[in-house]
């Protein structure tokens, strides 16, 4: 009894503090715009910050205030953010979880609190949510594969292997990327020569896997990085292997420098997700839900297969939806 009472006391104090610090504390609930929370895994990563921008922009347009809460890739913080959002009695949550498992807990908490959740990009292993918005990884990978094949063939190569430095294949997006890419290769004279799954996503890991793939197949024609951030490891590996110009590189996702690298041919192509678009779509979907409009359970947004040939056409879209550098 005493302990229980003590807990209640603590809870009351916490709630009081939160009310005091809240900028909305003074405003009445009726006057304030509906609030959304964007629970994002790590805003330090451009992909998510770009997506957050999309969320914020779209929310604003639809008359929501939005609270972007980054977990900084910490499960604990993600939960704390969830608790905070729920405590703030947000009208809805856009969730880009640290992982699909963590998403389940967030969804569970939100469900118990009666708060609708739209998931953006990272899937969930379970739980109740309004809709899932993600990239069409398979489509993007397939098109990227086709870009690579064209580039290889353009160099006069008709056959050879392609090494894959993959994100974990247990992830749905990883599987989809591999499936689409391999599907694109299957209609050409090239085939997947080997695959290494990233674990810690470090430079060293990327470099090492790249070297192993290069050395294991003398006929290797290209490396495909399923992620974007450690592309330098792959480039260094090609260079150190003395295969510059002999082994090409394609990446999934995008970095700002990719524009120039693709243009220069340093990078054959990149499958670029459109995080800002995802963010916007998430808010739109949540809004539709709140408006009691029917929303699809899963929505896949196209991935841009950027090559030197189309980069200039796609550049505005890339800057806006991919890099978040375009006009807001």
């Amino acid at each position: 009894m005493f302990r229980s009472g003590l807990h209640r006391l603590k809870l009351c104090c916490l709630m009081g503090i939160l009310l005091l610090v809240s900028p909305f504390a003074a405003a009445s609930e009726a006057d304030a715009p509906p609030r959304l929370a964007y629970l994002v895994s790590d805003l330090r990563i451009p992909f998510w910050s770009i997506m957050a921008g999309g969320v914020e922009q779209q929310a604003k347009e639809l008359g929501y205030s939005v609270e972007v809460l980054s977990a900084d890739n910490s499960a604990r913080k993600e939960l704390e953010n969830t608790a905070r959002a729920l405590h703030d009695e947000v009208a809805g949550i856009i969730l880009s979880p640290t992982n699909s498992s963590a998403a389940v807990t967030v969804l569970d908490l939100a469900e118990k609190a009666g708060v609708p959740v739209v998931i953006a990009d990272i899937g969930t292993q379970g739980g109740e949510y309004v809709s899932y918005i993600g990239s069409d990884n398979e489509q993007g990978a397939r098109e990227l594969g086709q870009v690579l094949v064209k580039a290889l063939e353009a160099r006069g190569w008709s056959e050879g292997g392609v090494g894959i430095v993959a994100i974990p294949q247990k992830r749905e997006n990883g599987k989809a990327r591999t499936r689409g890419f391999v599907d694109a290769l299957s209609s050409s004279g090239f085939q997947a020569a080997g695959i290494r799954q990233q674990v810690d996503f470090s430079y060293t890991e990327t470099y090492t896997f790249s070297r192993e793939l290069i050395e294991s197949d003398p006929n290797l024609r290209a490396l495909w990085l399923q992620g974007s951030d450690r592309y330098q490891g792959a480039l260094d590996a090609i260079r150190d292997a003395g295969k510059e110009g002999e082994v090409l590189l394609v990446c999934f996702d995008a970095e700002p420098e990719f524009i120039e690298m693709i243009r220069s041919g340093q990078l054959v192509g990149a499958g670029m997700q459109q995080p800002r678009l995802i963010g916007e779509k998430a808010v739109t979907t949540l809004h539709a839900y709140r408006q009691s409009e029917p929303v699809p359970k899963r929505q896949k947004l196209p991935v841009l297969a950027v090559s030197p040939q189309n980069i200039d056409d796609l550049l505005p879209t890339i800057e806006k939806n991919v890099l978040g550098t375009g006009p807001k």
């Binding site: 807990h7 709630m15 608790a83 998403a103 569970d108 908490l109 118990k112």
Partner: protein, 669 residues
Amino acid sequence: MTDRHQRQPSLQGRIILLALLSILLVVPVHGTLSFLEQKQLLLADMKQQADESLASLSKNTAPLMASYAIAEYQKLVSTEAALGQYIAILVDDFQMARILGQPRYVSGSILMPDTGITPYNPADTVQQAQLTAQPYLLFERTLESDGQPLGRISIYMPQTAVEEKLNEILYDSLRSSLLLAITLVALLGLFVRYQIVSPLKDFLASLSERDAEGIPVNPLPGFKYREFSSLSETLNRMIGLIRASRAEIKQEGDRLLAVIEGTNVGTWEWNIQTGETVFNERWAEIVGYTLEELQPTTIDTWARLTHPDDLAESEKQLQRHFAGETDFYQCEARMKHKDGHWVWVLDRGKLSKTTPTGEPLMMYGTHQDITRQKETELRLSLAARVFEHVNDGVMITDTRGVIQNVNAAFSALTGFEPSEVTGRNASILSSGRHDCDFYRAMWSHLLNEGNWDGEVWNRHKAGDTYPVHLKISAIKGQNGATESYVAILSDISDFKAHEQKLEHLARFDLLTGLPNRLTMYDRLNQAMMQAREYDALLAVLFLDLDGFKEVNDSLGHEAGDQLLIHLSRRMHHAVRDTDTVARIGGDEFVILLPDLQNRDAGITIIERLLNATASPLRIHNTEVSVSASIGASFYDHHRAADAEDLLREADQLMYEAKQKGKNRYQLPG
């Protein structure tokens, strides 16, 4: 079956009841023990399972909890709940509670009847109700990370398994009991009925037919089972033994009765403590009464009839017996006969029971009428005294002549003490003077006539022989057979000496001691017979002294007698030992020379005779000298002559010698 038997419990019923009780006692106890054991095992298993689950969950959940991977550990919990078939596994996540600002953050899985393993929701009242709807065992474990508590896992394990197991065991136990009871009772009932009761009935039927003494008449039948068979055989043996024992006792009783009747003894039983005494008819009969006349009988009955002097002896012997000094009591006593005379009884008895304090209690005994024996004893005593004091020696032998007893007179006569001759043959007394024929004749007569009477020469222990008059009589037993011999030896030494003296006087010359005419004739006839028989030569000398009359006249008869005595000695020495010198009158002698080689041998002796008689001798300081004239006749088997003829011829020839000048001899021409 009698009423008493009806009231007695049935063996069959008891065995079945016992079996039922055993089952009812043992099976529930066994069931309970089994249940408790199963329960313990089950609980141990459950605990082990829960522990294993907790251990597994702890190991795998703690890192997940530490990394806030709530969904991940919930998956583990869900899987474990399903695998373990638990009611619920709840995880109290302390970190989450802190994050959420809640007292507790409990998640987990619960088994719901409709949906199966379902994520736990503390707010779900249905789940709460389900959680507490059934009994459970709670196993908990706190999760830690770096020593800091992370949370707690609680496993709710259904206790229904234990209850189900209990019910199962109880039902099993009940079923087993019932089945066992029914089967056992049925089988036992049948078995007892047909294998025990039925044989026992046969047993009883066999035992029911009994003789007058209550002993079964028929032997018990054989049975299938060893125990019954053994019992039957044992009982048969016992019955046999009892029957034999009864027969033996009866036989013994009959024999005892026969002995009592046969020995004609009176019997008595005496209660020493009460004085009560029981006699048989014979006891009363000995003293001339009927038993009825003596009633009531007590020990005083005996005392009243017994001679006062003998009562004292009786009391003395009784006390000795009571004191253990004698094996049995025995006393000869006189009892007053109804007719007034005394009868002797031999009173014998033995103490057979004592009181617990060792006092004599019961005594049994007999009375034997020994009046006749007593009389016989008196007679024998008298005879013994006669035997001892008679002057004649008395010797008693068995039929083989072995000495059994002798009296003092015998010892005086023979020189042998009784101990020296008892057990030895009577021939020890033999002098050797009688030949075998003598004894053969004696035994023959003894055996045929039963007695023998005659004179016998015996040898004294010192070696001398002596004559006795021996009278032997056979002592015959009841069956007429000789049992022993009594010999009476009368000393006839004096008589014989006197007899010999008389015979000597009749046959020898009183003065010279030489054979007289009578003896001379006997010997002559005997010598003639031998001469005839052995073809020997016999000489008969007729000697007449020359000048004797003158000596007799001049010196007197006494001198003449002395002369005759001296000359007789000389003549006796002049002839051979086998020759006979006889004085047949005055100064006439006949000398018989038997068994001569020839006449010259006779002449040699004749000449020695002449010399012997002619040599002078001194009588009363006077030298006297005589001579002899001898006529000799000869006889052998060729000659037909008798004694008279030979004497006459010799006399004649002596006369011729005298005629021819005396101091010479004359042979037949």
